[in-house]
């Protein structure tokens, strides 16, 4: 039977990545010297599984590499060796190394790497340094899979006398003497004699015990080891004596195969005659007209399938692990949907339809829309994963970086169970890494500096995630020195981002770090440098329909706040009309909608009107003007103002009318066209027409109303002056 092992590769790789993740996080929990055996066990188990799987599926480079890891872990687990911090470091490096080896499998590349070899040597040095018998005996194991090689002991037929006297409990180990005899028979000719001596009286006989013993004569080319192998599983449960009685040299008659070689095998000759010509080229030493030739023996065409070295197909699809509870709820929903459908069907199939059925129909439709929404939510939930998937990489990152920087850092993770869409998760990881690196590098002070400033020498970086409305908020908080506004401002002036005499608030100055062409690092360090600036971080987050902000208190630390939609696929929106055109305004950005009290509108020049709303001034953006729709109502008092907020700025969108609020499946406009300013995407409405989704922050930018920019207007001041 041939089985294509490559079908299991993906599962193996997935679970190995998971194992490595577990290994990594447990390693970070380890305190050298104070070893929690449960932690070591978990780490050991992960390495052990990877080794077992990789060996089985033919990834020998990984199997060989994990072998040394496993040996070391086993020694630590058994208390034969103290855990040292060097071990933890090496093991962490191994986790990385194994990750790249697994990646290599995915990419159909060779898994061997110098890094792995280097690490393997270091482990071996540790293992050799304190030599254990274990290591020596372990080496034999890697070849354990290659059994069945030497079943033919040689060219000598031996007559063996074997005594097999099992203990009474033999059956309770699940072993069966008959099978053992059959295995021996495969080695050669056997004669079995049973010995009933120990058989008790019937009254004393326990059906569960074994009382018999046997004497077996075996004529075979097999070696003592081959025979022992047959009894391998029962050697502790039986008295086994294997004795060599006689040996018959196997003379090679070479040219005349049919000639009888010994009297003992005379009766077999006829059989072997048919066999011998089948493999004439094995000639010389091996031509042995005797029946004990095992079917397993080396044959001209080796049938042993070599574990496939490269996967036949590499699927690009990524998989997602879903909790069964989510699947169950999905199944429940579908169940309800089927019931609703049955009910509607019944209505539809009725011979006549009158007004009396209308209520039932309405109910059915209401139920259907309820079912659909539930189903949609359940399906979306499948894509939702706890943010711990992203958080989990940070303990390691923080450990490595703080070591490099010689800083003492405590990492706090909060809200790890907060869920967000898998796609968003994959894309937010890199910007977060960058922000954390930045906090460690620029935010946190060295221990000396901290002490000098009256702080504890250990700095804290906190990652906090929580839901707010339809968004997930991720905060990266450090208790370091805070942003240096003077320095930022100076840099911005040097780089031509602002004019030297520009008046900016601290918040506005801090926002400058997200502008393209800005870099605060005096010397571009290995860590924050990397050619990626905060502007890229911001751009990546914006691309996810998210925002990033920074707030900072000098001497006390900085907080970066990332705000992201929970999912990229569905949007809660408000339909608005502008003339004949229907647009969607994301519900999350809507603060309120109101009719305009014309007496509270002031013109501030440059064609800009502001509405005084309580104690705020809201600039009015006429959508028809911005979007160039001539057919819309143009008077402020005829329309409605949708007050929206983005990037801490509030503006009012003048629209003709508000229609329904509902959820929309977001369709990309860029897929077949391109990015359109002021539009974030499209959706398809119930009537099949396309409607565009308004991009609030893009719109504000489009209107040139962006704060903190030279070309923009600052409402906080000019407006109050103007009124």
């Amino acid at each position: 039977m041939s089985i294509d092992l490559s079908q299991f590769y993906e599962v193996f790789i997935d679970e190995s990545f998971e194992g490595l993740e577990a290994m990594e996080s447990e390693l970070l929990n380890l305190e050298p010297g104070d070893v929690d055996s449960e932690i070591i066990n978990t780490i050991f188990r992960a390495a052990h599984s990877i080794k077992g799987g990789s060996g089985t599926f033919g990834f020998m480079a990984i199997a060989d590499f994990t072998h040394v890891l496993e040996t070391l872990l086993d020694q630590i687990r058994n208390g034969e060796r103290e855990l040292e911090s060097l071990h933890v470091d090496l093991l962490l490096k191994s986790v990385d190394c194994l990750r790249s080896m697994l990646n290599a499998i995915q990419n159909d590349e060779p898994q061997e790497s110098e890094e792995a070899e280097e690490l393997r040597k270091q482990f071996q040095a540790i293992l050799d340094g304190k030599s254990h018998d274990e290591t020596a005996s372990d080496d034999g194991e890697s070849s354990a899979g290659a059994e069945a090689e030497n079943t033919n002991g040689g060219d000598v037929i031996t007559i063996w006398d074997i005594k097999f006297a099992p203990e009474p409990h033999l059956f309770r180990t699940g072993n069966e003497p008959l099978f053992l005899f059959e295995d021996l028979q495969a080695l050669g000719e056997i004669t079995v004699t049973a010995n009933f001596e120990k058989l008790p009286e019937l009254t004393d006989l326990s059906a569960e015990d074994s009382y018999l013993s046997w004497n077996i004569t075996l004529d075979s080319k097999a070696t003592a080891d081959n025979i022992k192998e047959v009894f391998e599983w029962v050697e502790d449960d039986a008295e086994i004596v294997i004795k060599k009685v006689a040996q018959i040299e196997d003379f090679d008659f070479g040219f005349d195969e049919t000639e009888q070689t010994s009297t003992e095998t005379a009766e077999d000759t006829t059989e072997s005659q048919t066999e011998a010509p089948a493999a004439p080229e094995t000639s010389a030493s091996n031509v042995q007209p005797i029946k004990t030739e095992k079917p397993k023996a080396p044959s001209p065409a080796p049938a042993k399938s070599k574990p496939a070295e490269k996967s036949t197909t590499k699927s690009d699809s990524t998989s997602i692990r879903v909790g069964t509870d989510k699947i169950d709820s999905l199944i429940n929903m579908v169940g309800e949907l089927v019931i609703t459908q049955a009910m509607l069907n019944e209505l539809g199939e009725a011979d006549e339809f009158d007004a009396s059925k209308l209520t039932a129909l309405r109910e059915g439709l209401a139920q259907l829309s309820h079912n659909t929404r539930d189903l949609q939510e359940s399906v979306m939930r499948i894509r939702m994963l706890p943010i711990s998937f992203v958080f989990s990489r940070f303990p390691r990152l923080v450990r490595d970086i703080s070591q490099k920087l010689d800083k003492q850092v405590e990492l706090k993770l909060l809200g790890e169970q907060t869920e967000l869409d898998k796609t968003v998760m994959e894309k937010i990881s890199d910007p977060m890494v960058h922000l954390v690196r930045n906090s460690l590098d620029h935010g946190l002070e060295s221990p000396d500096e901290r002490i000098a400033n009256g702080k504890g020498e250990t700095g804290t970086v906190t990652l906090n995630a929580y839901h707010q409305g339809g968004n997930i908020i991720i905060e990266i908080i450090d208790d370091g020195r805070g942003l240096n506004t003077a320095k930022i401002k100076q840099k911005a002036i040097e780089n031509g981002l602002i004019e030297a005499d520009e008046e900016l608030t601290d918040d506005e100055i801090n926002e400058l770090i997200f502008r393209p062409g800005f870099s605060t690092a005096d010397a571009v360090s290995d860590l924050s440098g990397r050619g990626v600036g905060m502007d890229v971080v911001k751009r990546n987050i914006n691309a996810l329909n998210g925002t990033v902000e920074v707030s900072s208190v000098p001497g006390q630390g900085s907080t970066f706040t990332i705000r992201l939609p929970l999912t990229l696929a569905i949007l809660d929106g408000q339909l608005v009309t502008v003339g004949q055109n229907v647009y969607i305004v994301p519900l999350v950005s809507i603060v309120e909608s109101l009719q305009i009290d014309i007496s509270k509108v002031n013109s501030v020049g440059g064609g800009l009107d502001v509405l005084r709303l309580r104690d705020e001034y809201i600039p009015i953006m006429r959508l028809y003007e911005m979007f160039g729709h001539e057919d819309a109502g143009k008077k402020l008092e005829d329309g409605l103002l949708v007050v929206v907020e983005s990037d801490n700025e509030k503006v009012g969108l003048l629209v003709d009318d508000l229609l329904a609020q509902q959820q929309f499946v977001i369709k990309s406009l860029e897929a077949n066209y391109k990015k359109v300013d002021g539009i974030s995407g499209a959706t398809i409405l119930g009537d099949g027409s396309v409607s565009l989704i308004v991009d609030i922050s893009g719109l504000i930018k489009l209107a040139g109303l962006k704060k903190a920019g030279r070309q923009g207007l600052d409402f906080s001041k000019p407006v109050s002056e103007a009124v």
Partner: protein, 165 residues
């Protein structure tokens, strides 16, 4: 949409330079302002009638808007306006040819508005003259070549360039 099949010229010499082993490519041709234009038929996905569409704000006049093509949002480009030809009112004959093009390594599906679909020809692309001889200077970059069919001139278009907007 009816396509006249009888004018297939597969086995007629297309012009003097045609070799026996010429590789023939199928072209769909359509009419605009009395000119016949051809695009490779392999890029054509389907042909639809004109329908009202959703306007995309602040786009060039030749971008007519987006339509819903079985759940995909597809932009529609008016080829007359793209070529700077005179604008005409859309009629029953006005068609939208849905094409699949590779723009900057991204496969995009777009619609082009033309006056009417004309014909399908098997043409030898190599036989087309590269540079337009007269006029059309403005649209020269959009033109792949000119070819004579039945004593008519067909302008072969470079859709990738036309739709890279």
């Amino acid at each position: 949409m009816a396509m006249d099949q009888n004018a297939t010229l597969a086995d007629e010499p297309l012009n003097d330079l045609t070799g026996e082993q010429a590789e023939l490519v199928q072209y769909l041709t359509f009419m605009m302002a009395d000119e016949e234009y051809g695009i490779e038929i392999l890029s054509v996905q389907e042909i639809r009638g004109w329908e009202p569409m959703t306007v995309i704000p602040n786009q060039p006049d030749y971008v007519k808007g987006v339509i819903n093509l079985r759940g995909t949002v597809v932009p529609v480009i008016d080829l007359r306006l793209r070529f700077g030809l005179e604008k005409i009112d859309y009629s029953d004959l006005t068609v939208v040819v849905i094409v699949k093009v590779l723009i900057n390594d991204n496969e995009k599906i777009m619609g082009i508005v033309v006056d009417a679909v004309s014909d399908v020809y098997n043409l030898d692309k190599d036989a087309a003259s590269k540079a337009p001889e007269v006029g059309e200077v403005e649209n020269k970059p959009f033109i792949d070549g000119l070819i004579n069919v039945d004593e008519k001139m067909v302008v072969l278009l470079d859709l990738e360039k036309i739709l890279d907007i």
